[in-house]
């Protein structure tokens, strides 16, 4: 299940970056150590057959590059506009993941994105991290889920 979830999230991220940002050169690797001086963490809650959340960790430089690429405008700092755009991208990736999971009869729903502070202390049954590297910067996805009882 961990490997399957890892792949589904990586594929969804790849798909969204390709369609929205025209970026296809993406690589991924599992990671336990993702540290950036400045980052935006966006949590997407998951409910249904799987319950928990996925934290999308966007370094500031990646966030700014993504929004610049989408808008064609210059952005100097992460502000509420950038955070909102990045949150929507996390929402879109998660929506793609739900569609892929439903094809395997895993039925889940997502909650609206929330900016959060990454907290590594919670215990989860299913836990994995993807470090995704792209030509406009890296991101990390922390997947933390329990099976519904």
């Amino acid at each position: 299940m961990v490997d399957k979830l890892y792949k589904v999230f990586v594929d969804a991220t790849h798909n969204v970056f390709n369609l929205m940002l025209n970026i296809s050169d993406i690589s991924d690797s599992p990671t336990e150590d993702f540290k950036f001086d400045e980052e935006i963490d966006i949590a997407i809650g998951i409910v249904g057959d799987l319950q928990g959340d996925v934290i999308y960790r966007f370094p500031s430089s990646t966030s700014l590059n993504m929004v610049q690429l989408m808008s064609g405008m210059q952005f100097d700092a992460v502000d509420v506009f950038v955070t909102s755009a990045i949150s929507e991208i996390a929402n879109i990736i998660s929506g793609n993941v739900l569609n892929a999971l439903s094809d395997s009869n895993v039925v889940c729903d997502i909650l609206p994105p929330v900016q959060c502070k990454f907290d590594d202390n919670k215990e989860f049954e299913i836990r994995t991290s993807c470090y995704i590297s792209t030509t406009i910067g890296d991101i990390c996805l922390e997947i933390r889920l329990n099976r519904a009882s």
Partner: protein, 142 residues
């Protein structure tokens, strides 16, 4: 420029509406992100918000009619996406009338609108075009 030729579906009426939508959103973002003070921006932003309320509904209706005309199997799911966006625009519009910090609300709206619109046209709407081509529906300009 916000619009990219790769977003074209090959359905003239829908493509024309998408281009108009992108043109308006781009103009909205340029005003929203300008260094001008709020007072200088507010009339243009109000105008765009009013446009979005009207035009988005009109465009979604036309796009849904096209989907029905080609028996697009994803019609119901796509319609739900439209409904969700219309509800969001109306909710923001309502909050805007009451908000103390209107600029903050508009910046938040602008960021989400940008990402939503690009994904919707580049990904969701492309599925309609892919279906039309695959099923050989006449009237698709490709």
């Amino acid at each position: 420029m916000l619009w990219k030729d790769q977003y074209e579906l090959g359905v003239p009426v829908i493509d024309a509406q998408h281009k108009e939508l992108f043109r308006r959103v781009e103009s909205f973002l340029q005003v929203l992100r300008s260094k001008d003070g709020w007072e200088a921006k507010v009339s243009k932003l109000n105008e765009t918000l009013e446009f979005m309320k009207r035009y988005v509904v009109e465009h979604f209706r036309d796009e849904e009619q096209y989907q029905l005309s080609i028996n697009y199997p994803g019609y119901e799911a796509h319609k739900q996406l439209h409904t969700g966006m219309v509800e969001y625009v109306l909710e923001v519009s309502k909050q805007y009338e009451q908000a103390d910090d209107k600029e903050q609300l508009m910046q938040q709206f602008g960021g989400r609108l940008l990402a939503w619109l690009i994904n919707h046209v580049a990904a969701e709407d492309q599925r309609i075009a892919d279906y039309a081509i695959k099923s050989g529906v006449n009237g698709n300009g490709r």
